[in-house]
Symmetry: C2
């Protein structure tokens, strides 16, 4: 059951009482999403916090030339949302698209605020989640400003081996901020160095 998975996820942070579990159950909706289906498109408001039960999503922005730039992936037991749009109610500049057929749980503003006000434990849980995500992003920024494409690629492979297997290299290239062509070059150069031709 998807909802059990979400509860198990929360309980890793803090134990929940039955009433809190029930409140959660009643305020979350389940959806099945096909590959390539969008759960957020540019100029729409991001109305949900989305918890990925199974499958995989990417969130990205599109530049003036039409190129996509992956800000985040989210697979099982991860959250995805344009939090800025979600809280401000303003139009998003981002897309969230399924890379695989997926099952998700979503909660909207009203219901999340209800949980915050009636069960402060959720303030705590989402504070910890936000802090952890912040730390992750901060490490990524440091990596972006201090290292080469090759280092960023290797770090991605080590840090998210699970994602690296499922994603085409072109998606990873977008995530680490280079073109797919250059990633191909990076891989070739590294292969040559370590296996200098038999």
């Amino acid at each position: 059951m998807p909802i059990e998975q979400l509860i198990a996820y929360f309980v890793k942070y803090i134990p929940l009482k039955d009433i809190e579990k029930n409140e959660l159950k009643n305020r979350v909706i389940e959806k099945r999403i096909k590959r390539r289906q969008f759960i957020l498109q540019e100029n729409d408001v991001c109305k949900y916090y989305t918890f990925v039960v199974s499958g995989c999503f990417k969130m990205y922005g599109v530049d003036d030339k039409g190129a996509e730039h992956n800000i985040q992936f989210a697979a099982e037991n991860d959250w995805i949302a344009d939090i800025g749009s979600f809280h401000s109610g303003k139009a998003s500049r981002l897309y969230i698209e399924a890379i695989e057929p997926s099952v998700i749980l979503q909660i909207d503003q009203t219901n999340l605020v209800y949980l915050y006000h009636n069960h402060p434990k959720f303030d705590r849980i989402f504070r910890v989640i936000a802090e952890n995500k912040f730390i992750e992003l901060q490490n990524r920024v440091l990596l972006n400003i201090s290292s080469t494409a090759d280092e960023r690629y290797q770090t991605f492979l080590n840090q998210y081996p699970n994602l690296a297997n499922r994603l085409p290299d072109t998606q990873i290239a977008s995530y680490i901020g280079i073109t797919p062509e250059f990633l191909s070059k990076v891989r070739r150069i590294r292969a040559k160095k370590q296996l200098p031709l038999t």
Copy 2:
């Protein structure tokens, strides 16, 4: 009074009761920091959340070649900490150094946890702070992976005009992930384009 400034800051998020204000007062310590003084050094544990009352700090990592890479600046009414180290109790890989003579307020683990447990409102406030910082970082990541040094520099000037005036360009270069020499070139090229020689 520094503490009044911190309270005013919190109240912008959510009103505080007198008891919450007093609890805060009793659990925060005030310090004066000289220019170039460190409040965190590599291999130390980050013991405090630091609120900047006046002055300015930078947080940065140092690479194998000894080059500094600025992850964050923090001026008046901003927070700075290596949250990862703060929560895990593990050694930090980062430095936090005063760029200007500063006045700060600090709260340690024990006291912050006390506030969280006895006054859940602080969970909420710090959740919102963490979410806002997350949004900011996410925009920065998108900028880093999708735009040129020139665009990143212009964005910095527009987004933080206050900081841009106080900081030497060399610090800004480090923040946007380029060398000071290249920033100088970027500025020159832009100047020529807009004033193509009198």
